[in-house]
């Protein structure tokens, strides 16, 4: 399976993401500069963490107006898996591929530590290697990770089982402890915690690896059916 890691000016977790795919998962990943990106030949799209455009205006806002966004939207419409982590999640929100918006952390601090997440929905192509309600250790590293949506949107997220992960101890003030959500079709996942930084025991946790294994297995199964 071949992944594109889309690199914006200011992305800084792009290599971690590529490392997770190539070294831990054993698949292919290209770092693709946003301006020259042709995403058509890739099987999965990864939007890494960092500070695209210095987080000017709002985190992810300026990246969400760049030319590559239309290609990301098309990939999502075709049903390809699209994963946005941290700043990647913020970009997915700002481009409207996922509902809601990010606010500064409630305590106004940048936070960087491991969090215990609960897998709320293990029936997605990103989470089916986890058990339902399983608790996993994934690090966070963000200043603007306070997920906000209005009550109606929250009800829709709940009814459609779009809430993939929640925090056990809400670190940032997110609505309903939300750490990660999918789109309605389930092929776009945005999450603030960094699964790519939890792919080896040396990193303190390997709980993130199963997220990538889920994507790969789902893709292989799908591919075998289509072939």
């Amino acid at each position: 399976m071949k992944f594109a890691v889309v690199v914006f000016p200011g992305s800084n977790c792009d290599r971690d993401m590529a490392f997770a795919i190539t070294n831990a998962l054993g698949e292919e990943a290209d770092l693709v500069w946003y301006q020259e990106a042709d995403l058509s030949s890739y099987d999965g799209i990864l939007l890494p963490g960092g500070f695209s455009y210095g987080d000017y205006l709002r985190s992810g806002a300026i990246a969400s107006t760049s030319g590559v966004i239309e290609q990301i939207r098309q990939a999502a419409e075709k049903g390809k898996p699209v994963l946005g982590v941290c700043n990647g999640f913020q970009v997915l929100l700002e481009m409207g591929l996922l509902p809601g918006a990010m606010l500064p952390n409630q305590n106004l601090k940048f936070m960087c530590h491991h969090e215990t997440l609960r897998v709320e929905n293990n029936q997605t192509q990103f989470t089916d290697f986890y058990k339902e309600k399983e608790e996993i250790q994934i690090p966070i590293a963000h200043g603007d990770g306070n997920y906000y949506c209005d009550e109606a949107t929250y009800q829709t997220l709940k009814e459609n089982k779009q809430i993939a992960f929640t925090y056990q101890t809400n670190p940032n003030g997110s609505v309903a402890d939300i750490a990660g959500i999918t789109n309605e079709q389930g092929n776009v996942l945005g999450m603030m915690p960094h699964p790519e930084r939890a792919v080896d025991v040396l990193l303190g946790s390997e709980d993130g690896l199963r997220l990538f294994q889920s994507i790969l297995t789902h893709w292989r199964n799908n591919h075998a059916i289509n072939a």
């Binding site: 205006l57 107006t65 918006a101 606010l103 409630q106």
Partner: protein, 81 residues
């Protein structure tokens, strides 16, 4: 040219931790009559004269300058001599 002054504020009901921190700080300076503080953004955008300039400004606010999920905006347009 026109100077467009754009004010962006968090929507009512959206928690503003920065405003809260400033409110507490004002209280500790003994401005005990200070109520809620809300912090927003102010932008000045120079735009060449054009028909439907208001429509254009609203469109750019909706598309980029404000995030309609969490923010409201208002603006005024001034003649620049």
């Amino acid at each position: 040219m026109r100077k467009v002054k754009i004010y962006i504020t968090l929507k009512e009901g959206v928690l503003d931790p920065q405003g809260k921190a400033v409110q507490h700080s004002l209280h500790s300076l003994e401005y005990t009559n200070v109520g809620e503080v809300r912090i927003g953004k102010y932008m000045e955008v120079m735009i060449e004269d054009k028909d439907n300039i208001e429509q254009q400004v609203e469109k750019m606010c909706d598309q980029l300058l404000a995030n309609p999920v969490i923010e409201d905006y208002s603006y005024s347009i001034e003649e620049v001599v």
